[in-house]
């Protein structure tokens, strides 16, 4: 059995590097995927990941875990990614990176190449969704948050969150037509 997140947080509050490593290793891939899906660029996603964990450590004294740690960190990633996009917009840069900025890090056989291609297309399709739909979809499917939790986060009703999710999913379905035909 994995040690409880609450216990690991308690250990980090007491300065345990081992506990911090365990939390980071447990959620790194998941949060990096979420950030990359939101930003379209792996390098920027890494910055967000570092930023989220740095703030987590800096606020650990007053931190109280009320829900899941995964959900909490995913919410932080979404908020930081949104800040990141706002800043870019203010600087006049294209808010979302092109899909090809998601670095292809592995080389391999044909199947791997096809999988990579599909992944790039999915990242690209996510990037073309309205931000609120993209966030709702990713928070639900990657962050594991329920619609009422997403609604609370965005200051909307659970019904609106669900609608954003459905619209977003339909949008993705259209954009990925070739990949998702029954």
């Amino acid at each position: 059995m994995m040690l409880e997140d609450r216990y690991l947080v308690w250990q980090v509050q007491r300065g345990s590097e081992r506990a911090l490593r365990r939390i980071y290793n447990r959620y790194e891939t998941h949060l990096l995927t979420l950030a990359t899906s939101l930003l379209g660029r792996t390098d920027q996603a890494e910055d967000v990941l570092q930023d989220v964990f740095t703030r987590f450590i800096e606020s650990i004294d007053t931190f109280t875990l009320t829900g899941s740690l995964k959900g909490y960190l995913a919410t932080c990633v979404v908020n930081r990614a949104r800040d990141h996009l706002r800043k870019k917009k203010r600087r006049g840069e294209q808010p979302l990176g092109k899909a090809d900025s998601v670095q292809a890090r592995q080389t391999g056989p044909l199947e791997a190449a096809i999988a990579r291609e599909q992944r790039q297309q999915l990242f690209a399709a996510l990037a073309r969704l309205p931000q609120e739909q993209r966030e709702t979809i990713l928070l639900h499917l990657q962050g594991g948050l329920r619609f009422r939790e997403i609604a609370r986060l965005h200051g909307i009703s659970a019904k609106t969150a669900w609608s954003r999710y459905r619209y977003g999913l339909n949008g993705l379905k259209s954009m990925l037509n070739g990949q998702v035909e029954p």
Partner: protein
């Protein structure tokens, strides 16, 4: 699959694996932030437990009251004092202390039949001694051994194997965790403490903590937790497992080392408190014989296997639990071991089992029933063994297996 489901699955399956350079860079940065924080505020990082417990006059009074009551009253009154919110902290401290162990040996005594499941309790039975040994290793799983007079489980670092000595039968689990055999197993004592901490933070009112001095003058932290069950009083499985019993657990930790020194568990049954579990001895960071973590099995050992699909499987699938029990005992009566093994999920029938059940007479088979959250059926039976002894009990049968046939799960 519908396109929407496929899109959902694609997003769920998305994985952006970090590269080693980025992983090391970010983690290195985070560890340096944590170190810096630790350097700046060392006092805040290591709060004294005493300070945590004794920070308010009300808590001091409550703790004093618990000690006074513990001396003056039966154990059932121990938890009826003001709750304290620090029980979670005490368990977290204990979990942390026990995470740092290199090895340990814990001996307990428990009211359970010596040959039965480790977690099966019988209030009317004498105590059986059970030992836990653990050699902690870097990969967290460690190596461990759990042993009662009738059973031994050994985890060699990769897989766990249980040998039922009296049946000459072995069971190898896919999941090597000790919980597979016993939820409250103290082999993962730090995990048990972490779970208690979680419960204490969610239900602080159930926990009470205090301090006491043991006869050797050592200061101890005492935490009592009252655990109610939702199983009805007349249920067959009531008081047969801890989760099915109203019970009180009293933990005692060494205030200096934070290590578990004692644990007593009392089951509340019809106005009496029955001690069912007691930690007898705990030795930490000791040298353990590597031979403890290897199991020498007899050459003719019977192995447990998942039930295979039989050529006439349908016939067995259609049996009711009562029919399955009848078929089981009929096979014993006729000493038809090939037939019997179809109900056992094992490679054969052991000699001790043949000697015990062979040639029996069926006196009666009763109405099957279900109990608590057990996923199988209990079939009451009365048999006359070849020795002449009459045995009345309930055969436990379940069919949540790949062959969908009733298999023996206990009650012999």
């Amino acid at each position: 699959m519908k396109p929407e489901r496929k899109v959902e699955q694609m997003i769920r399956n998305l994985r952006e694996a970090p590269n080693a350079e980025a992983h090391n860079r970010i983690l290195g940065h985070l560890l340096s932030v944590l170190k810096e924080r630790k350097r700046q505020t060392p006092a805040a990082l290591e709060p004294e437990l005493r300070r945590t417990i004794m920070r308010s006059p009300i808590t001091k009074l409550a703790a004093a009251a618990v000690v006074a009551l513990a001396i003056a009253l039966p154990v059932s009154f121990l938890v009826r004092t003001a709750p304290t919110a620090s029980a979670a902290d005490i368990f977290y401290q204990a979990a942390e202390a026990m995470s740092g162990l290199t090895s340990f040996h814990i001996k307990v005594k428990m009211r359970t039949p010596p040959n039965d499941n480790f977690h099966y309790i019988r209030l009317d039975r004498d105590f059986t001694e059970i030992d836990f040994w653990k050699q902690c290793t870097d990969d967290e799983r460690g190596k461990w051994r759990l042993e009662s007079p009738g059973r031994v489980v050994v985890m060699d670092g990769r897989t766990s194997t249980m040998f039922m000595k009296h049946l000459n039968q072995v069971f190898e689990a896919d999941d090597p965790s000790p919980e597979r055999y016993w939820k409250e197993c103290l082999v993962e004592v730090n995990e048990v403490m972490a779970r208690e901490a979680q419960t204490a933070s969610e239900r602080p009112a159930a926990f009470t903590s205090s301090r006491e001095t043991d006869p050797d003058g050592r200061e101890m932290i005492v935490v009592a937790v009252e655990m109610p069950t939702h199983v009805p009083p007349d249920d067959y499985l009531r008081n047969k497992y801890l989760e099915n019993a109203d019970h009180l657990k009293i933990y005692r930790f060494n205030a200096q080392t934070k290590l578990l020194e004692n644990l007593e568990i009392y089951v509340h049954d019809n106005g009496r408190d029955v001690l069912v579990f007691q930690l007898v001895a705990a030795e930490y960071n000791i040298d353990l014989d590597p031979g403890l973590f290897a199991l020498d099995l007899p050459a003719d050992v019977i192995r447990s296997v998942p039930p295979e699909i039989l050529p006439d499987n349908e016939r067995y699938e259609q049996m009711t639990s009562e029919e399955a029990a009848t078929a089981f005992f009929t096979a014993c009566a006729e000493e038809d071991w090939d037939e019997l093994v179809k109900f056992l999920g094992q490679t054969g029938v052991s000699q001790p089992m043949k000697a015990y059940l062979g040639g029996l007479e069926i006196v009666s088979i009763g109405e099957p029933f279900q109990s608590a959250n057990y996923r199988g059926w209990f079939v009451p039976y009365e048999i006359k063994l070849r020795s002449g002894r009459i045995k009345k009990h309930n055969l436990a049968l379940r069919k949540d297996n790949r062959a969908h046939r009733f298999q023996l799960d206990g009650g012999i």
